[in-house]
Structure formats: C-alpha cells, structure tokens
C-alpha cells in the first residue's frame, strides 16, 4: 500500500508541494516522515486543494512545517478552503497563548515547606488562642456548655474504644512479662516481674498505648468529621447563624476526650497488668495471689497518679490537633485525606514528645 500525502515537483525557480489524502491524527507520523524528506531552500508553492480530510492535528503539523519552510524562503499557500483557514487562525491564536508551566526547584521546595510549617505553627497558635478565649467565655456562662455533645463524644471516643484498648494493653502487658521473665529467670529474680510489669504499665505504657490508639481512632475521626463539614459549607452556615464552631464542635470534643482518656487509661492499666499476670503464671509459675500480693507491696499510689496526670494532657493534644486539622481542610476532598494523615502523625508525635517531657520532669523531681 502506497499512501502518499505529499507529492512534489522540482522546478528551476521553485518547488511545488501538493498535499493529498487525509491529514489527520492517525496519519500524522507518516506525513511527518514524508515532509522531512523534502529539502527546500527554493521558493515554494504549497497546494492544499487535494486534501480530503483534515483535523486540528493535521493543521498544527502544517503550521509547524510552514513556519519551518518560511524561514528558509518564501512559501505561497494555495487551494485552501475557508474551513481550513478558520481553523488555522483559531489554532494560530491559541498557539500564541503560552501556557506557563511552573517548575519547582529543590531549593524552592525547601523554602516553600519551611514557610508552610511556619504558617502551620502560627495558625495553630491562633487556633489555641481562639480556643482558650471560647473556653473562658464558656466557663463564665456554664449554660453554654454543650453537655449533650460531650456525652455523645464520651460514648463515641471513650466507651466504644474499650475493647480495642483492653486488647492492646493486655497484649502489651503479656509481651513485657514474657520478655522480662526470660531475663529475670537467669538471676532467679522471678518475682521482680511484678515490679517490672506493674510500674512500667501504670507509669508509662498504659497512658502511652491509650493515647496512641485514641489518636489513631478519635483524632482522625475528629479531623474527618469537621473537615467534611467544612467542605459542605456546614461550618460557614453555622457561623452565619451565630453558632461558634469552637463552642459547638471543638470544645465538646476536647472536654469529652479529657474526661474519657483518664478513664480509658485506668482500664488500660488493669488490662495490662492482667496480661502480665497471665504471662507470669504461664512462664514463671507465679500464682495470681502471689502476683497481687507483691503488686500491693511495690506499686505505690504515686506511680498510678503520675501516669494518670498525663491523661488529660494527652487528651487535649489529640483533640486539639484533630479539630485544628479538621478546620484547616480546604475546599477539596483530597485535603480531608491529607489533613487526617497530618492530624494522626502530629498528635502521635506530640504525645510521645510530651511523654518524654513528663519523664524528664518526673526524674528531675525525683518521683
């Protein structure tokens, strides 16, 4: 099959090019090949009258080579239809509009991210300021406290989390007892497993596990709930009705979590120790009664209190970060995902950072 899109006749003074056939998207590579074979330099007459069909791709190709030939010598185009001319003009116009493509360099990205982090921090401080001013107003007029919502959120993020918190803590308690028992058995200090499990769970692990599970469970939920309301303009609607989102959405969640988290920590402590008991009974033959007796001797109340104090602080961090990220959601659905991720990552990091801070403080205070 010999399809030809171009024929040309070489004269003394000029070349005559005749375009034929279908100048369309499908035949574009073939036409290009043929056009590339033509060497010019002479004056040119380009006849389009035998073109059967064309589309914008064909015209763009024509434009490209027309400009190419025209640079070398004069080109005269003949035999085009009005349709082709109109299309040519349209494409000519649009090809002049340069589409600016933004390329971001490495350095630029660093700068951008730094500014973003900076403005995130600034926004978070503004959020905290607004939050505390609302809190202050609310405490002055206690009838503004949204008790119904608080109870609802305690149920959602507290009660409904009992099973997962219990299970996780139980397993962690078991793991610690197992690992510890191997080491302690070497020294014949089996009974010290009670100290290990009791103190580590109550002081550190109980609060930390609970906070991390809740950050993943409720912190993300807060961000997604509030973010979705932001997208559907429900938050804007609330503002126009004078329902302050801080009072109606943020504070109830914070209050609820600050109440629920210490209770969950208590439950986590219990389950962790139960896990420890289960493991030591199996591994070290320490009976339930022995374990509890020893626990009663070594686990001072202060350890329990020191662990408990972390509860409300962690709760505040998780709920505040969750709500803050939710309110940051912009007008597209993608940003819900991004902000939910950011919310969980930020709150878990902050929880661990504050846990370290607590450790330092406790050590310095010698308690």
């Amino acid at each position: 099959m010999n399809k030809e899109f171009i024929t040309y006749e070489n004269y003394q003074q000029h070349i005559k090019l005749v375009s034929k056939g279908k100048w369309t998207l499908q035949s574009l590579p073939d036409i290009r090949k043929e056009l590339d074979r033509i060497s010019s330099g002479k004056q040119m007459i380009w006849d389009l009258s035998e073109v059967e069909d064309f589309d914008s791709a064909g015209i763009l190709l024509f434009m490209e080579y027309y400009d190419f030939f025209a640079k070398q010598n004069s080109v005269e185009v003949r035999g085009y239809t009005k349709n082709q001319k109109d299309m040519y003009d349209l494409l000519k116009k649009s090809s002049q509009d340069t589409v600016s493509v933004k390329r971001e360099g490495f350095i630029e990205n660093i700068g951008k991210n730094t500014v973003e982090v900076y403005s995130d921090i600034k926004d978070f401080l503004a959020f905290l300021g607004q939050l505390f001013s609302t809190l202050f107003h609310t405490l002055l007029t206690p009838k503004n406290i949204r008790f119904k919502e608080i109870v609802y959120h305690i149920h959602q993020s507290g009660f409904n989390a009992l099973i997962i918190i219990g299970l996780t803590s139980f397993l962690v308690g078991m793991v610690i007892a197992y690992q510890g028992s191997v080491q302690l058995a070497k020294f014949g200090a089996d009974i010290f497993i009670v100290d290990t499990v009791g103190i580590s769970i109550v002081r550190e692990l109980g609060p930390l596990i609970t906070a991390i599970v809740i950050a993943g469970r409720s912190g993300s939920a807060y961000t997604a709930e509030i973010g979705a309301m932001k997208i559907t303009e429900e938050i804007a609607a609330m503002r126009t009705m004078g329902f302050d989102p801080y009072n109606f959405l943020v504070l109830p969640r914070i209050f609820a979590l600050m109440i629920a988290l210490p209770l969950l920590i208590f439950f986590s402590d219990l389950m962790g120790i139960l896990g420890g008991i289960a493991a030591s009974t199996m591994q070290l033959n320490i009976s339930f009664a022995q374990f509890v007796d020893r626990l009663y001797e070594v686990l001072e109340v202060k350890h329990y209190i020191l662990g408990m104090i972390k509860g409300p602080v962690f709760a505040f961090i998780i709920a505040a970060v969750g709500c803050f990220r939710g309110l940051q959601v912009s007008d597209n659905t993608e940003s819900i995902g991004l902000h939910t991720t950011a919310s969980v990552v930020n709150s878990i990091f902050l929880v661990i950072a504050f846990d370290a801070l607590f450790s330092v403080i406790y050590t310095e205070l010698d308690i």
Binding site: M229, T232, E233, E234, A237, T240, M241, G242
Partner: protein
C-alpha cells in the same frame, strides 16, 4: 432612608491577587438585589464579607446599621439572628433531619415551646412548597431542588428581614427555577424582606431582580436597575446582556435601551 447594606471602598486581596479594588455599592430596603459577574470576579467573596465569613483588607461594610469593622461579639451575634443565608449547595447539617435543621436556631436562641417550634417548622416547610413528610428526612435523602427549598426554609426560620441567596436557581430545572423565583418574590412581598442574591440566571435577572451590581475588573462596572445596567458599555455587560441569545430571548427588554 438609610440603605440596608452599604459597602464602601472595599479592597480584598488573596496573597498577591486583588479581588476587589475600591468597590462600593448599596442595597435598599425591600428590594431584590442581584450581584452578577463572571466567575472569579469575587461575587461570593463579597457576599461572604457581608455575612462576616471573611473580612475585607480595607473598606467598610455596614449591614442593618452595624459597621462590621468594629462590631463587638454581642452585636455580631444579634446581627446573625437577623439574617438568613442560603448557601449554593444548601449546607444543611447532614447529621440532622430537615425539621431539626430548621428548628436548630429556634431551639438555641428562643424560649419557644416545643409544640410552637413544631408548628413553625411545619409552616416553613409548607411555605417553601415541600411536603410535610420531608421534615423527617435527612439531607442526603433529598433531591437537589428539595435541598434548595429546605435550605431556604432554614434560612427563613428566624423570620429574617434580610436574606442572602448564593445562586438560588443553579442546578434547578427551568420550571423549578421559575417557581423558586416566584417564591422569592412572594416572600419579599409578603414578609417585607430584603433579598441579596448572587445569580447567573438570565430569567431571574430579567424577571425578579429590582436592582443589581455587575462585578468585573475588580470593580462594580454597572449598578442600578436593568435599564441602567444595559446602558453600560463595559465589555462584560455587552457580552452578557447584548449577545444574540439574550437579545432574541428578551427582545422587548433589551431593545428598549
């Protein structure tokens, strides 16, 4: 008589992009005022500034006699109870039924008894032309047109004297849109409210809008009645009102100018 809303020399910038540059307009009592302009001309931003969702970078907006620049928290709260806002996509609270959506402000702000509230809710639902069974449904169970009506019912819950509508007829079928227009006129006549609406709908503009502002190039390029606006030579006005389609459809109104 002082205007219901007055905006003076509004300047709005988002980063380096200027949206409004010294823009002024005023809206009188009891009129249906249209805000129109091409997309990106800052219509929604202007409305958001009027309802205190955004603050302009410079300039002054006065709504119902309150200057928004130095409004106190208390004043702002009481002002918010005097208007109703219809968002483009309804923005009904998705966790509440339609009846609860309409009731929520009454419940929070008034001491009206439960029965009275129910009565008010029912009257609002029927006022906007919805069936009484709709009250028990959730927003996700309604069609687009019904959501618009339900949102209007909610906007009317506090018996406002000022109503903001963001593209009230967009996304409605033509018949539904005309009914909605009639409803707005009826509400204005019966309840004596002032209506501010963002709209692209030619039928609304030619049919029910009393006065309008055309936003383009960061300014109000034409303000006033349809007749006044049609006299403008601004390219956007030319393109929007004096194209072949509009000319044919609204021959009598455009030709008179």
């Amino acid at each position: 008589m002082s205007p219901v809303i007055e905006a003076k020399n509004i300047v709005t910038r988002f980063g380096e992009r200027t949206i409004h540059d010294n823009l002024s307009l005023h809206i009188d009592k009891n009129e249906i005022y249209g805000i129109l302009g091409e997309s990106g001309s800052g219509k929604s931003v202007l409305m958001k500034e009027m309802i205190m969702l955004l603050e302009p970078n410079a300039g002054e907006i006065t709504v119902l006699g309150h200057k928004l620049n130095d409004i106190s928290y208390k004043e702002a709260q009481s002002l918010r109870r005097k208007w109703g806002v219809l968002f483009q996509f309804g923005a009904l609270y998705s966790s509440m039924t339609i009846a609860e959506n309409i009731e929520v402000q009454l419940k929070e702000y008034t001491k009206i008894s439960k029965e009275m509230r129910n009565k008010l809710v029912r009257s609002k639902i029927s006022l906007v032309g919805l069936g009484s069974h709709v009250g028990a449904l959730y927003p996700s169970e309604l069609s687009g047109g019904m959501i618009k009506r339900a949102a209007l019912a909610r906007a009317l819950a506090m018996e406002p004297k000022l109503l903001f509508l963001d593209e009230p007829t967009s996304g409605l079928d033509p018949v539904g849109a005309r009914n909605f227009d009639n409803l707005i006129v009826e509400l204005r006549d019966r309840l004596g409210i002032t209506v501010v609406m963002i709209t692209h709908d030619l039928d609304s503009i030619f049919g029910i809008v009393d006065r309008m502002a055309v936003l383009a190039d960061k300014h109000v390029v034409a303000e006033g009645t349809l007749k006044n606006v049609l006299q403008s030579q601004h390219p956007f006005v030319e393109e929007f009102f004096k194209n072949d389609y509009t000319k044919q459809k609204y021959l009598d109104k455009v030709e008179n100018v």
